[in-house]
């Protein structure tokens, strides 16, 4: 209970009741071990630096004095480039004039969409394990979060059956993140068609966060927005962080029906105004000339994935092969430890950081997330250490 002198009395109730991110706890634990040769597989970003030509274009923009606001929707040249890119890679057409908005990362786009579409009490579904902010984002707009479980046996693909089982009357929005952070799970076209049919049947609005789509290793990525009858009920969310190694630039975008983008724009203009012009210039360069770098990075991730998945399975940590993203999500139940005990033990005894799966929701229990966006020699060494840790438990 807050007393009269406690500053906490000013914190809004729904914010005060938000749980602290499980990632945060672990971050602090790792931070305590600074200087101790820790290999971190706990990151959520590429180990590549943004390709030089992209950085150089931002420097050039500064030199030319590009330091002002842009249109609320973002620079029209960038929106045109986004329209072309999305049409080429995702087979959906959006008008640059009124169907695309440039945002401060996909995170802002997601927040805008929730604020624009979710009334207090509206029900928002998402598959889980999922990105750490999904459930809190719903809470922040006073929505009701409904987690739909995905399972290792399905390679963590979302199934229409699970969706139907979790559905409740009044559900309005479905959030998708395919390929998924933390599981790397994604859906093939047939699975997506079944999900799409369900969304049409229940009149759900889809918010599709496809930030890892370029990092799809087997088969091609299909966007749910490209399926018949879906573009008109889908907000397509994407950004530059993962594929172009641009996490720190904070630049993303949303595409969708004009009336919905307009609603998101209202929130955006009163809160963020516009994304940084420097980041927009860099993003434009990325779309114009960055594809070769994306392919090179994807090839690297692909081989690192094969390496880490093979090693985890050899060690006895059952690990499905993630079809996309740069995360492996092995099960640690064979060790008899919980995911938190495993992650803490691995960190303190062998100095390898992974993230306990429960940080991504209760369906992540029994798993850890290991990011393979790191150099080969680091992955090799981290897996050797994990092997020593697993063997030490058996003794």
């Amino acid at each position: 209970m807050s007393t009269l002198n406690d500053p906490k009395r000013w914190v809004a109730g729904h914010v005060a009741s938000l749980p602290k991110s499980g990632i945060r706890d672990f971050f602090e634990l790792v931070a305590k071990m600074k200087g101790q040769d820790v290999i971190s597989l706990g990151v959520g970003e590429p180990d590549f630096v943004t390709p030089w030509h992209i950085r150089e274009s931002a420097i050039f923009a500064l030199e030319r004095g590009k330091t002002y606001y842009t249109s609320n929707l973002g620079m029209i040249e960038l929106r045109r480039a986004i329209a072309t890119y999305v049409e080429e890679h995702f087979s959906v057409s959006y008008r640059p004039d009124d169907q695309i908005i440039v945002t401060v990362g996909v995170s802002e786009a997601l927040d805008l969409a929730l604020r624009a579409f979710c009334n207090p009490g509206d029900k928002v579904m998402f598959h889980q394990p999922c990105y750490v902010s999904y459930s809190p984002s719903v809470t922040l707009v006073h929505g009701e979060a409904i987690a739909v479980p995905t399972y290792a046996k399905d390679n963590f693909a979302l199934t229409a059956e699970a969706l139907r089982a979790a559905w409740q009357p009044g559900a309005k929005i479905l959030m998708l993140n395919l390929p998924c952070n933390p599981t790397g799970g994604t859906c093939d076209r047939t699975q997506l068609e079944q999900i799409a049919a369900f969304c049409r049947e229940k009149d759900l609005l889809v918010m599709s966060d496809e930030i890892y789509s370029e990092l799809t290793f087997e088969g091609t990525h299909t966007s749910i927005a490209s399926l018949p009858g879906m573009a008109e009920r889908t907000i397509f969310l994407h950004g530059f962080s993962k594929a172009f190694a641009m996490t720190g630039w904070r630049i993303g975008y949303a595409c969708g029906p004009a009336a919905l983008i307009d609603a998101m724009m209202k929130v955006h203009q009163y809160t963020m105004l516009c994304a940084s012009i420097i980041a927009q210039e860099a993003a434009l360069e990325a779309l114009k000339h960055g594809w070769d770098s994306v392919l090179k990075m994807r090839e690297q991730y692909h081989r690192r994935r094969d390496l880490i998945v093979r090693r985890f399975n050899e060690i006895g940590l059952t690990c499905h092969s993630p079809r996309g993203s740069f995360y492996a999500f092995p099960s640690v139940t064979s060790t008899g430890l919980t995911e938190k005990e495993f992650a803490t033990g691995l960190l303190t005894t062998q100095k390898v950081a992974v993230v306990p799966g429960s940080a991504f929701g209760e369906n992540g229990i029994g798993h850890v997330r290991a990011c393979f966006a790191t150099a080969y020699d680091q992955i090799i060494e981290a897996c050797d250490r994990a092997e020593r840790f697993v063997q030490s438990i058996k003794k």
């Binding site: 991110s21 990632i23 672990f26 971050f27 790792v30 931070a31 820790v38 971190s40 706990g42 990151v43 959520g44 970003e45 180990d47 630096v49 990105y131 750490v132 902010s133 952070n181 690297q300 081989r303 690192r304 094969d306 390496l307 093979r310 090693r311 950081a353 993230v355 150099a375 080969y376 020699d377 090799i380």
Partner: protein, 162 residues
């Protein structure tokens, strides 16, 4: 593509045992691939990449690029010249070029005098060599893909992030 060749092209500095783990092969298999690539004259050998501006690494630190104009021979073209020049120990690399000269020769030596005498006594006296133009390298900024100032500041990346 040969998985070992792929790793070599990528330029990752891996030991053969690390290559084996990355490619999912045994170390013996990696060595077999390397032997085969050597037999096929695709893989010519290993060389370290050194920052020669460091005094410790400064042996043979004088380096020059020489443009060579030659009169091509009937029958032999430029090849005989190029092969002859390339055999000198001082020559690190030798290319046939398009444009204002014919051969571009990368030379290294222990001192300016040694490189100069190589050019004046050996290179320019070869019959058919019309002219040479020697450029001494003053400072290196990037060596075979490695930035000499250490490249990117990487250390501040978060260890754990969502």
């Amino acid at each position: 593509m040969n998985p070992v060749l792929k790793l070599l092209i990528e330029g990752a500095s891996l030991t053969t045992s690390q290559m084996a783990k990355v490619a999912g092969l045994s170390e013996a298999e990696v060595n077999q691939h390397l032997e085969q690539l050597k037999k096929d004259k695709i893989f010519l050998g290993w060389r370290p990449v050194l920052d020669l501006s460091h005094e410790a690494a400064a042996a043979s630190a004088v380096r020059a690029v020489i443009e060579v104009k030659v009169t091509p021979e009937r029958g032999g073209g430029f090849n005989r010249f190029a092969e002859r020049i390339a055999r000198f120990d001082e020559v690190e690399s030798c290319y046939l070029m398009s444009g204002g000269y014919d051969l571009l020769v990368f030379v290294k030596g222990q001192s300016l005098q040694k490189v100069a005498s190589f050019v004046s006594e050996k290179l320019s006296t070869i019959e058919g060599v019309q002219a040479t133009s020697t450029h001494f390298m003053l400072r290196c900024y990037k060596e075979q893909g490695f930035l000499l100032d250490g490249g990117e500041a990487q250390s501040s990346r978060l260890n754990v992030a969502p």
